[in-house]
């Protein structure tokens, strides 16, 4: 048996679980309509879940990108201060972020695709809800109990199959979100621990060293300025006067 027939069997099995056996087939129309409404709510909730997952990934990507940009700027600053070693370190860390960013972009694309599909599923179900609401009343009024048996049975099977399909779409989206949530949780932990980069601390170690370099050069500059000033006047006496014995004038000779 081929894949298409087997898939049909699976959908049928899911559908059968949903069907309620009503005494009067006309009652099964109302039951199916109720289920259809519940199904629509479920799909809408799933759309909201997918959208939330998408936003979480977007937030993480923004954080990571911000860190990559910061490292790029630090590399530039380091080169400006002739600290090639620091620039190299900053660029190496930036490169380590790239695969994470690519992974987030892939995940984002997948979630966005799921979102788009579920929105279409919700729209289709809404159309069916509207159509079924009218049709079930027409069928109830038109068919005798005997006719209803087959005609209504067909319609109910058809509508249940649509619900089975929607149910599978929701399950599929949920599975994808679940696996992504696990990865997103791990990413949050990495971001929080600073193992990837320290986003919480405004001054990281590269920045600290850059600041150190610039502080040192400020001191050097000020020192040079002072020396120039002193050099223009009389040489200054620095330190204790020569010839003075250690221990001071009141010391006891050995």
């Amino acid at each position: 048996m081929g894949v298409m027939k087997r898939m049909s069997g699976i959908l049928q099995a899911k559908t059968n679980k949903m069907l309620d056996k009503a005494e009067d087939p006309r009652d099964s129309l109302d039951l199916s309509y109720q289920k259809l409404l519940e199904n629509l709510q479920k799909v809408r909730r799933s759309v909201a879940d997918v959208t939330t997952a998408k936003k979480r990934i977007e937030l993480q990507a923004t954080q990571l990108q911000g860190q990559a940009d910061k490292l790029q700027q630090q590399a530039k600053d380091a080169l400006g201060q002739n600290r090639e070693d620091l620039a190299r370190e900053a660029l190496a860390r930036r490169a380590a972020l790239e695969p994470q960013l690519t992974d987030l972009q892939t995940q984002h694309q997948q979630v966005a695709d799921q979102e788009k599909k579920l929105i279409v599923t919700a729209q289709n179900l809404q159309t069916q809800v509207d159509a079924f609401r009218t049709k079930k009343e027409t069928m109830k009024a038109t068919y005798t109990a005997a006719e209803a048996q087959t005609k209504i049975g067909e319609a109910v099977s058809g509508i249940s199959e649509s619900m089975g399909d929607a149910g599978m779409s929701v399950q599929r989206a949920q599975d994808k979100i679940d696996s992504m949530q696990a990865r997103a949780g791990a990413m949050d932990e990495l971001l929080a621990s600073g193992a990837l980069t320290d986003l919480t601390n405004p001054v990281d170690d590269i920045q600290a060293q850059l600041d150190q370099v610039s502080a040192t050069s400020t001191v050097d500059n000020q020192l040079a300025a002072l020396k120039a000033e002193i050099g223009a006047g009389a040489p200054a006496q620095i330190g204790p006067a020569e010839g003075e014995a250690p221990g001071g004038p009141g010391g006891v000779p050995a």
Partner: protein, 92 residues
């Protein structure tokens, strides 16, 4: 015959196009059996394309059961194999 593409819609495919779908499905079956991811993706895409091309989309208020069901258009081989193990998917 009525063919459903999971997650999308139902199509009424003329019986005269049955053999076209059969040929494409053979390739899909072989890909699943042979665990060939690339062949699975290409044969699934070809099958879906044929259903869309030869079939007429059913109106949403037709409420009809399908004779055949095609996996989600972006289904993976692993996902499909897992699905085929579910109740109703027995090879028979």
């Amino acid at each position: 015959m009525i063919v459903r593409i999971l997650g999308e819609a139902q199509f009424d495919v003329p019986d005269t196009d049955r053999s076209t779908l059969d040929d494409l499905e053979h390739a899909l079956n072989a890909a699943v059996e042979g665990n060939d991811e690339a062949a699975f993706a290409s044969s699934l895409a070809a099958l879906i394309d044929a259903v869309r091309r030869t079939g007429n989309p059913l109106a949403p208020d037709s409420f009809t059961s399908s004779d055949l069901v095609v996996p989600f258009s972006d289904a993976t081989l692993d996902e499909t194999k897992a699905l085929l193990k579910e109740p109703g998917g027995e090879r028979a």
